[in-house]
């Protein structure tokens, strides 16, 4: 490092000395000879130009431009060189340089191979790397994605060689398409002729967007860029370039940094096309207007927000009030429910206990256990007995329906003999039927025997169906038929009674609803029997169906699953 500095210092001293002598010589000559001699003294430097914006290119007016051009113009003005530009492709430029047709070629990456062919100065002008650019939708993410793809690359460039090495290293089969300049390469990518193009980062970052292209993560071969001179030319030009670069690079306000700022992406923004500037102006105006608008809008929004907040807080208060009301109502409902349960339990016990007495004592009196009875006494006691039994059944019905509706009624599963139950029901109902001169019969299939269900509830349902049939039949018969069909126990109770009108079928099973008819008054009951029976049947996994013909009679069918029935 120290050594380097010293060498540069020495070189500077020598050059300064040389320039001093040079200057003195010129002064002497000028004092002796006329001005024409001064022109002869200006050194003509031929510089190659090719298209690689922003490093070196030809601008719209046909003038060479770019970082390398700015630099050489600056150095030329300092050194009093007369620069002549020779435009061509990259390959042409290198060829001209090799043949000594030009003095300097800008933007040449230093490679060992090139060092053999050309002379380079020592301080690099720029460092760059290569990057692949592709269409937005290409999906190219890594070098591996380039396998089997067509990639445009600058003809005879270092990247051509580098990319070939690079892709081979990954064992990729990428088809390289050599193109004379970057512009054509990007056009080809945009048109879809190739999948990607490899350019240096300067060109790519500046131009990719214009072609709708984006940079990929495929980056390789960092390189140092120099001016190159023909191999065997004098090093005078190269040394002058190094001297200037040395100074320029130390001062951030120098022409070197100025040109970098001018040509790299930061500066590019200031070279936006006119239409974009107009658009920007319009956007600015629109923005200002919308800012003004938004202030007004904001005020309105604030006002609305305040209103909404107020409404919201009012709503919250209301919700709290309502919730409290609901909680109270809920509590009331729950206490009512508890009251109902307590009422049911009390009813069950307190109402039935005195009835048990009434039924029990009238029963024993009628049995003559208390002594003999005359005819009138027996008739009256029977009335008491029957009324008490009826009242008990009403109480039981009301309790049952309440329990069913409160979902407190559970059924048990026990093994019992269905035949016995059916026979018991017939026996219990027989006196009622005989009173009305009805023929009550039961036909029980031989396979009917033990089954599993709730004995009491099955009995209750059957009693209800039979007593209903007897109740609504004035003459004829009530027939029970008990059999097994399709794996289900089917108990049908058919009568030759008044039947049910079709329009009444729907309300048949409704609680507290006895079918209205001219003769309804004749029939006692709460109208709960069928409703309870159907609900009980459902609880037992069965159902009750009804068929009826007005004036001819009805058939109520109780279907019950036979599962649990002992084989």
């Amino acid at each position: 490092m120290l050594k380097g500095h010293r060498r540069i210092a020495e070189r500077k001293a020598i050059v300064f000395f040389a320039r001093l002598i040079h200057g003195l010589l010129i002064l002497t000559l000028v004092s002796v000879v006329c001005g024409s001699m001064a022109l002869a003294e200006s050194r003509v430097v031929k510089v190659g130009v090719y298209e690689n914006s922003p490093k070196v290119f030809t601008d719209e007016s046909g003038r060479p431009s770019g970082i390398f051009i700015d630099l050489i113009e600056y150095i030329a003005s300092e050194e009093d060189w007369e620069v002549q530009y020779v435009a061509g492709t990259w390959a042409e430029g290198l060829e001209r340089l090799e043949k000594g047709l030009i003095d300097l070629m800008p933007d040449v990456a230093l490679t060992t191979e090139r060092e053999k062919r050309f002379s380079f100065h020592k301080i690099q002008v720029l460092s760059s790397w290569f990057q692949a650019y592709a269409r937005k939708d290409s999906g190219l993410q890594s070098i591996l994605d380039l396998n089997g793809k067509r990639v445009a690359i600058l003809d005879k460039s270092v990247q051509q060689e580098a990319f070939t090495r690079f892709s081979r290293g990954f064992g990729l089969d990428t088809k390289l398409v050599a193109v004379a300049d970057y512009k054509t390469m990007f056009e080809m990518v945009a048109k879809g002729d190739v999948d990607a193009a490899v350019t240096n980062q300067f060109y790519g970052s500046m131009h990719a967007r214009k072609y709708g292209l984006v940079d990929t993560a495929i980056v390789f071969e960092p390189s140092a860029l120099f001016f190159a001179a023909p191999k065997n030319s004098s090093r005078e030009l190269l040394e002058a370039i190094d001297q200037h670069l040395d100074y320029l690079k130390k001062d951030t306000k120098s022409a070197y940094y100025a040109t970098l700022r001018k040509w790299t992406s930061e500066e590019v923004r200031f070279r936006l096309p006119v239409w974009l500037q107009v658009l920007g102006l319009i956007a600015g105006i629109v923005l200002l207007m919308s800012l003004g608008g938004s202030v007004i809008l904001k005020n309105q929004v604030n006002a609305r927000t305040r209103e909404l907040k107020q409404i919201n807080s009012e709503m919250e208060v209301r919700i709290i009030e309502r919730t409290a009301e609901l909680a109270l109502a809920m509590e009331k409902a729950q206490s009512a429910d508890r009251l109902k349960s307590a009422f049911l339990a009390t009813m069950s016990h307190e109402l039935r206990t005195p009835l048990n007495s009434i039924i029990g004592f009238t029963g024993i009196l009628l049995q003559r256990l208390g002594g003999p009875l005359n005819e009138e006494q027996e008739k009256q006691l029977k009335m008491v007995y029957n009324s008490a039994r009826h009242l008990l059944s009403l109480i039981n019905d009301v309790l049952d329906i309440s329990k069913i509706e409160a979902e407190q009624l559970n059924v048990v599963s026990e093994t019992f003999n269905l035949r016995e139950t059916v026979e018991k029901v017939i026996k219990t109902s027989q006196p009622l039927a005989e009173n009305k001169n009805l023929k009550l019969t039961a036909e029980i299939a031989p396979e009917i025997g033990l089954m599993k269900s709730d004995r009491r509830r099955v009995e209750q349902i059957l009693l209800n169906l039979v007593s209903n049939a007897v109740k609504f039949t004035e003459q004829g018969f009530v027939r029970m038929k008990c059999e097994i069909q399709n794996g289900k126990i089917v108990i049908a109770v058919a009568d030759s009674g008044i039947g049910i009108r079709p329009e009444d079928m729907d309300k048949l099973f409704n609680a507290f609803q006895q079918i209205e008819s001219g003769i309804t008054r004749k029939y006692d009951g709460t109208g709960l029997g069928l409703s309870i029976s159907r609900k009980l049947a459902n609880l037992l996994g069965g159902e009750i169906r009804v068929e009826s013909e007005w004036g001819k009679g009805s058939t109520f069918t109780f279907l019950l699953p036979r599962e649990g029935e002992k084989a």
Binding site: G360, F361, G363, Q367, L409
Partner: protein, 123 residues
Amino acid sequence: MKGNILVIEDNEQNLYLVRFILEKNGYTVHAAMDGQTGIDMAAALKPDMILLDIQLPVMDGYAVARNLRANPELAAIPIVAVTSHAMVGDRDKAMEVGCNGYIEKPINPDTFMSEVERHLVVK
């Protein structure tokens, strides 16, 4: 004299009714109006049968039955529960605590005696 029957029942009318029917049918009836008295009387009398009301105050019929069954001296005495509960599971519960039978209230004078005698062990 057909046998001794202990009736544990808190309701006077029911007790009277049961006593009346049983006595008319030739049985000797001993009555207890609460559970604890019933247990004590059962231990002292060793009756041929116990008719037990389930809805007793303080100690209910289930507790009384359990208590009676805990005494090995009384193990052979049939206990028949009498209740107007008529609720599902009552029968199972009564059987579970050691009752031999179950008669539902209201008492039907026509069938009461046959139900009682079904459980009576004839000496």
